[in-house]
């Protein structure tokens, strides 16, 4: 049977921040780029995100963080992903993220960082690149 591959992405809003415009429009953009997007809804605990990523068998988790807490959240989530056997899923993060934090995020294992204002094209290309193994 011919195989049919589609990139599956979980867009998740971790924590208490409720600004979800960015997450929602990114969902729409990824859909229009042919991806299958699961949206978590607001106020997710990291446990919920881990369980959702597990059950939905996604390729990529995209966190949307506006509160400034991206460093501690990514660090903790990456550790949990490793513990739960999800370390082959790519973690990406977008939102209000100062450029000076990007090296640190990448170093801890975040695959791609999409600070507010980057284009949809940039995000889609970035995620596609993860899928095909290009950096």
């Amino acid at each position: 049977m011919k195989t049919t591959k589609k990139i599956r992405v979980l867009i998740a809003k971790p924590g208490l921040d409720g600004h979800d415009k960015g997450a929602k429009i990114v969902c729409l953009a990824l859909r229009d780029a042919g991806m299958e997007v699961i949206y978590s809804g607001l106020h997710q605990t990291l446990d919920q995100i881990i369980q959702t990523a597990t059950e939905e068998a996604v390729d990529v988790i995209g966190l949307s963080i506006m509160s400034g807490a991206h460093l501690p959240i990514c660090e903790k989530l990456l550790a949990m992903m490793k513990e739960k056997g999800l370390d082959d899923i790519h973690l990406t993060v977008g939102g209000v993220i100062p450029y000076q934090d990007i090296p640190q995020l990448k170093e801890m294992g975040v695959a791609q960082v999409f600070p507010g204002g980057v284009s949809f094209e940039h995000i889609v290309t970035g995620i596609n690149a993860l899928e095909t193994g290009e950096k």
Binding site: L16, D17, C27, A29, S67, G68, G117
Partner: protein
């Protein structure tokens, strides 16, 4: 300012202009346009300070008093916030606009697992009355009014404010607070909701009823078209949805046997200044007029002062860019000019670094100076409603009115705002618009200086913005204070007041007096919100696509 659609010919001359609200703009306007739109001086404009208040609420407007400035302030522990409050007041700010951190906004104490990494980050951390006492120490609460940016737990913060004032020796008749307390817009836009829709609206109703009876100088609700606009609504929808939300709150309170006349005067509004200059000006003028007409004709309100659309026109957050951040200083100044030309009563500006993080003292002061310049330096106080009678502005104002009414009718078709939000109708509509607009920005269909025009290679990465820094110690300090509080307070008093609160929440008693008692007993925000969570449950948000 980058939000209208321009169609140009091959030489670059503008052929067609369409505003976000769907209004087409002509190359010039004359008396025939006013006639076509059915403009009548007395009905549509009238004297400043006279019904329907299109021109201004007060006859002398800025001549008698410049606008009130209320920069959004708060971070870290209450002690840090208190210092910043004093700095802003010392520098001429005449009202406070308090920012709370996310755990507080969501009804969690600093030691809750979900609060981790968030304590004091985007606003100040409040666990109990002790923290309010620290935050407002030395602030003359009888002279300085405070906006509280809090929604899901606004009732709790109103009670805190009252309890604090009482501790300091003020009576509740002297204090003036304006909690945001607009839960329906949180469900459309900002996302700081907790309880299901009907319980959320009931709490809003409780706080309005309480303010009417007990807090004569406070404004229990600030209807925020602002955040609805930030989420992707057009200017016309911003006003229409805020008004539709107001109608649902009015319905809740009138069910309690209180006449609209007795409480609608306490409503205030928070609208956005971001967008096309003329469209914003027309929006504010149309909004003032429509609100007055709606209250008078639909709700039978007669007292002139109660027909006022009072509020803050400001912010402009989603107009700011991360690219070339200094541009935001000029950009905000133009936004503020629009607010001043529309006779904004109260204002505040997002600071130029807010695309990165919460403002530093320097950027917050720059915003304050921008606002001062308009009033004291360049002449915005000279005369009331300087654009009145402009063929363009008056036509546009009438067209804007029509658009707002159309959008309100649309909501009615869905059975009113509460239903339109429960079903996700509004959220779907706004997300789709936001997506379309963002695509337009990225394709250059909408112009944005520094973003898709006059960009500089790689400048974003190089940008040297001094950033407000988060201090991990705030969480530790808050947690230690909380621990100490729980050790020293009277536990019996706490559990008794919480039990009484629960009883009120389960029944139909107003929760406010019980919350004030809980605050005095040093019950924590988490404990009080916990009672509500237990009784009401949490909202299950609908999908958005």
């Amino acid at each position: 300012m980058g939000v209208a659609k321009y169609i140009k010919d091959e030489k670059g001359a503008i052929q067609e202009v369409t505003y976000q609200s769907g209004i087409k703009v002509k190359s010039s306007y004359g008396p025939e346009d006013l006639e076509k739109a059915g403009f009548e001086y007395d009905k549509d404009l009238g004297q400043p300070g006279e019904y329907p208040f299109t021109r201004s609420l007060h006859p002398l407007s800025y001549r008698s008093r410049a606008w009130t400035t209320r920069q959004y302030t708060g971070f870290g522990t209450p002690a840090e916030t208190n210092e910043r409050f004093k700095l802003m007041i010392k520098n001429g700010q005449n009202g406070l606009n308090v920012a709370f951190d996310l755990p507080t906004q969501m009804g969690y104490d600093s030691d809750h697992p979900l609060a981790q990494g968030e304590v004091g980050r985007v606003g100040m951390a409040i666990d109990s009355l002790k923290d309010f006492e620290t935050a407002f120490a030395g602030i003359p609460l009888d002279k300085i009014g405070s906006g509280l940016t809090i929604n899901a737990v606004a009732t709790i913060m109103m009670a805190m404010y009252q309890a604090t004032a009482e501790k300091f020796g003020y009576s509740k008749n002297q204090i003036s607070t304006t909690p945001q307390n607009d839960i329906l817009k949180e469900m459309i836009g900002r996302g700081a909701w907790i309880f299901p829709v009907e319980h959320g609206v009931r709490l809003v109703g409780d706080s309005i009823e309480y303010a009417v009876k007990e807090l004569p100088r406070s404004n229990p609700v600030s209807l925020c078209g602002y955040h609805i606009r930030e989420s992707g609504a057009t200017p016309a929808q911003e006003i229409a949805y805020a008004f539709s939300i107001a109608k649902d709150y009015i319905a809740n309170v009138t069910q309690r046997g209180i006449k609209p006349e007795d409480f609608v005067g306490r409503f205030s509004f928070n609208f956005n200044v971001y967008g096309n200059l003329w469209e914003q000006i027309a929006k504010f003028r149309a909004a003032r007029k429509l609100w007055a007409i709606m209250l008078k004709e639909e709700y039978g309100v007669t007292d002139k002062k109660k027909l006022f659309l009072r509020g803050l026109f400001g912010g402009g957050g989603s107009g700011l860019t991360k690219e070339q951040p200094e541009n935001n200083i000029m950009r905000s100044a133009y936004y503020a000019l629009g607010a001043a030309l529309s006779g904004a009563q109260t204002t505040a500006l997002c600071s130029f670094d807010e695309a990165y993080t919460i403002p530093t003292p320097r950027s917050a002061l720059l915003s304050l100076r921008t606002l001062e310049m308009l009033m004291d330096e360049v002449g915005l106080r000279d005369t009331v409603d300087p654009l009145a009678g402009s063929y363009f502005i008056e036509t546009l104002t009438l067209e804007m009115e029509e658009k707002i009414l159309e959008e309100m009718k649309d909501v009615e078709k869905w059975g009113g705002m509460t239903k339109a939000i429960s079903s996700g109708f509004i959220q779907r509509k706004i997300s789709a618009q936001a997506y379309k607009y963002e695509k337009g920005l990225q394709s250059g269909e909408y112009k944005k200086v520094g973003l898709n025009q006059s960009t500089e290679d790689g400048e974003a990465e190089k940008t040297d913005v001094e950033l407000h820094e988060y201090n991990e110690e705030w969480a530790e300090k808050s947690k230690a204070n909380l621990k100490e509080l729980k050790r020293t307070r009277n536990d019996q008093e706490v559990s008794q007041s919480l039990a009484a609160l629960e009883k009120a929440a389960r029944g139909s008693d107003n929760v406010m007096p019980h919350l004030v008692k809980c605050c005095h007993a040093y019950a924590t925000v988490g404990e009080m919100a916990g009672v509500f969570r237990e009784v009401f449950g949490e909202w299950n948000e609908p999908d958005f696509y």
